[in-house]
Subunit: 600 residues, 2 copies
């Protein structure tokens, strides 16, 4: 009989789970229908994520107050009884990290606009790494001040260590790439501002997750001394670097390894691509690295190399697949956020802490953006203007990553207070800052409706080549001349880029398609994936193919042109074939004609 | 400190989970690469599912014998300690039912070739419903004989009730639509045989899952009397009907409700389609029905109605998405099957039971196919020839559904013996029957390389119209003239099919696109989705649009032509516009010209 009871209970819980999931699916359906209505009417004050949160809130209110349920004592910290009451919808927090975040982060990496990203790489790295660490520490210190004050006043009902403050600083420093950038994309805001914000918010997710886990890992060591220690900080920093570089190299490695040649069977190709991306995540997690970070760099690498090997059908398929997964995961997270505000049982809303946190988040963001912009402007020829700085300050929304990090562990009093406060910060930034983006843009007189491709041909563009630092330029050349030809079917044949003495090796490594691709210019979707891949560079010759298919070749002048050419190549790319380098070797020694164009 | 230990353990188990999943992903990757090699070399003896099983087996052997692990006693029935040894990779059996099966079954329904399916509907329903029940009972009875014999000989080490035997009969009666049909599809086998086998194996999955759950539900009632009772059988049968019709109507209802008009936003459309399909599953499960059955009929209905409302991009996207999900889930299940043969701890291999089961499965299949074919041939003008019958007999592979049903509960001795035996049956049928399909086809002299569209124009085709029974014909007309125009943008405008008195209502319900679609003939992918949707039927007039775009109209002769027309409509459909019925009403009363063709 025991068996039967267990079975019945399992069946009951299964039904409950199905009903819970159903609620979310209906929420998402509702969100989709409303988004459609909004898009139809070109209503832009509320992004879909904000909408998902509102619907989540409403359902939360219904579940909390509409369905009457006996509450057994208030504020009892019982992390396991969340399923006891019928009106609670909960998921294992790990679901967020292992199922919902990876597609979001991968998609962010896969759809990175590499052209503007690379042009602003230095600034992006500065904001994402240095800026996030600064912001985390500023917020951590300010919160420690707040907590100490609270303790003195007697508003603190539990323990709150300095490491907790630092942890809070780390998790709320992760800005969200979703909401503002969707609006930016729609309004076609200045591409440099877009690249700065997107690059920063994608990368600082990675920084925040590694930073917070380093802080957690450091915490248990000083069991009864949660105080600040220089040595432990260094150790934590070392761990940060280790995990980050491990995840980074793993992601890059698997991104490169996904070297598919199954062009004839699109289903197999897409499946393989999907599996390799997922295995990156799992491999990193199994190794103790951070899967989300690995998946981010895997996405970037795959967009750079693997994407060129895919058949056009698979390029579409993979883009669409990850777009869909990203959309579903994102809206799921945001509607769950809305739901938890009313259904989470262990909320600790402390007014003083909340006010302190909002202030700290504001100051932390300011300490990230303004001083760094000042420093960066010293080195940049194309300055980050003050209206861009204000916009970046304003656009620091907190979203999915912050939420996922804060819900991961809600066992202690400190963590519960953090979770409740984080929720409010996310709501505030998504609704107020997200909703006010359009107003802020016009208030700051930032150009909208800019076609990023046209924009770059202006004289202003040239001045940004300062950004392409020499280190980056060396890497770029190496990548373009050697890595791409080896790893993908695009790019110049190796026979052209390697010294003549390596001829046989070059011929062995060059795929037949590289020759075929030479004259053929793909009509890529430049919105999602950068099109600079289709540039062919060899020798000192610039070949332009304009829309009418006319070929014009001109010999380059000197190697001093190089950085300019690089810049041009990064900027155009759609219908221009740039050849550069110092050798004038055309692949004449091969049987294929060098610039075969089917139209001739 | 307790907290930290728990956290460490959770982290450890998370890493283990990641590593487990990673193993599967690498298995799938290996499978994909090998399939690609096979396809490249046109090697057909082993289907991808068979291959996935082999790789699974190999990894299982390595995990079992390669990695040394201490075994704590043999054959100890501990269902919970499966994670104790480091070399075991296990998943919650419910994963199969809630995550892996739904996409497979949905895809089967969504990609059903409706034209041939409807033409052979009577036979398919007979095989699937009557045949599966017959097969389940024959196998159940034979196994009961075997078990009784085993008890007498003393080979039975535990309890094995009659209901267990029936349960076994039910689960091994589910034939698998995957392996054989992939080969059939590739070889372009006779479309009627394809339809019979596909329809039967898709529907009998649904029958088997409901039948087995009815048996389980009936079991606890007679707690100490697991014997055969007429009353209980009736109750079980009633439950079967209830669950089946509940699931059926739920699936059909949600399939119809998914009435999307978001044609401009493909991402939203695809997301909505995906969510509605998933919610069908969850809703059915939450109601206590069978999600898999609901999802099957939801798929069929969506292919029939919703598909026509989608934008062309979304049609592609949804097809590709479910194709991918199906591919991944299928290969995952089959490689897991291979793995469990060596890594499952509680195998009970009883030679006598195994021999009995193989015999029973063979006889059960024979008792399904041959007598039913005999009966059906009495009513069919286009007989099911004996070589078709042998082929159907041979092609009764057992696959994902049988496995999922048998692994769902392995707590008792009887269930463990069933699971082990089922595994062997699946291996045998997939490898031997699946691998021998090509040989069997040529041995039975069954035509291959038949273009299903050309095939139907022969005189032979006409004789199959007997299949379109009057009940089906009535439904078809109702569906075509009223349901389709209301629910989709395709089909004739309601203004043409409704009596003139309903004019205003008809105009209200007809979407503007229905008029636009009138003369426009889509170039559909007839392989996946039946193209008869684009026929326009109203009045007694047959309008042919041949390839050169010439319109020829001819008045119908009598309503006696009707069944012939219906048949023709089911058969062609690509470039023919058939008008039939008893009224000669053309939609002249509307502002749109009746047969607007953009080419004129």
């Amino acid at each position: 009989m025991d068996n039967i009871v267990t079975e019945k209970r399992a069946e009951e819980s299964h039904r409950q789970d199905s009903a819970d999931l159903l609620i979310f699916i209906l929420l998402l359906t509702l969100t989709i229908l409303t988004i459609w209505l909004f898009k139809h009417r070109r209503f832009r004050f509320l992004h879909e994520t904000g909408l998902a949160m509102i619907y989540g809130l409403l359902v939360g209110v219904v579940l909390r107050y509409g369905i009457h349920m006996p509450r057994d004592g208030t504020n009892v910290i019982l992390n396991c009884n969340v399923n006891a009451s019928p009106a609670t919808v909960t998921f294992d927090p790990e679901v967020f990290f292992n199922i919902l975040l990876p597609p979001i982060i991968f998609h962010a990496g896969y759809s990175l606009k590499r052209r503007h990203f690379f042009r602003n790489m230095g600034s992006i790295l500065a904001y994402a790494f240095l800026g996030t660490v600064i912001s985390a520490f500023i917020i951590g210190l300010l919160m420690y001040g707040t907590v100490t004050l609270m303790k003195h006043v007697g508003h603190l009902a539990g323990e709150f260590f300095f490491t907790d403050c630092l942890f809070f600083g780390a998790i709320v420093s992760a800005t969200d790439p979703v909401t503002v950038l969707a609006i930016f994309h729609e309004l076609q805001v200045d591409a440099d501002l877009y690249a700065l914000l997107f690059g920063e918010s994608v990368l600082n997710d990675a920084v925040a997750v590694v930073l917070s886990s380093s802080i957690v890992a450091y915490q248990p060591a000083g069991d009864n001394s949660h105080t600040f220690e220089g040595m432990a900080l260094l150790k934590s920093f070392g761990m940060f670097l280790g995990v980050f570089s491990g995840s980074f190299s793993l992601g890059v490695a698997t991104g490169i390894v996904t070297f598919t040649k199954l062009r004839d069977f699109q289903l197999l190709e897409t499946a393989l691509f999907f599996l390799m991306s997922w295995s990156t995540f799992l491999l990193a997690e199994a190794c103790g690295f951070t899967g989300v970070v690995a998946v981010l760099f895997c996405g970037i690498t795959q967009a750079h190399y693997t994407f060129n090997n895919l058949s056009p059908e698979s390029q579409d398929r993979t883009k669409q697949l990850f777009e869909l997964l990203n959309f579903l995961a994102e809206n799921f997270i945001f509607s769950y956020m809305g739901l938890t505000l009313f259904t989470f049982h262990n909320h600790v809303f402390n007014p003083m802490f909340i006010v302190g946190a909002f202030l700290a988040v504001f100051l932390g963001r300011a300490a990230n953006i303004y001083p760094l912009s000042l420093l960066l402007n010293l080195g940049r020829r194309h300055k980050i203007r003050s209206n861009f700085q204000h916009m970046m300050m304003f656009a620091g929304l907190r979203g999915a990553m912050t939420f996922a990090l804060s819900i991961r562990d809600t066992a202690t009093y400190a963590r519960q207070m953090m979770f409740s406060t984080t929720l409010l910060i996310v709501f505030f930034t998504v609704w107020i800052c997200g909703g006010g983006t359009t107003q802020m843009l016009s208030c700051q007189r930032i150009r909208v409706g800019v076609d990023s491709d046209q924009d770059n041909s202006g004289p202003e563009r040239r001045s940004t080549k300062q950004e392409s630092a020499w280190l980056f330029r060396i890497w770029y050349n190496f990548d373009h001349n050697y890595l791409k030809p080896i790893l993908t079917h695009s790019g110049p044949p190796l026979t052209a880029t390697l010294p003549p003495c390596c001829g046989p090796l070059a011929r062995f490594l060059t795929s037949p398609q590289a020759y075929e691709n030479e004259g053929q210019l793909k009509d890529d979707d430049s919105d999602l994936i950068l099109t600079d891949d289709i540039n062919l560079a060899y020798g000192d010759i610039t070949v332009n193919t304009d829309a009418s298919g006319v070929h014009t070749s001109s010999a380059g002048f000197a190697s001093g042109m190089m950085s300019d050419d690089l810049d041009r190549e990064l900027a155009y790319g759609d219908n221009e074939v740039v050849m550069r380098g110092t050798r004038l070797v055309l692949p004449m020694d091969d049987s294929e004609p060098p610039l075969k164009d089917p139209h001739f």
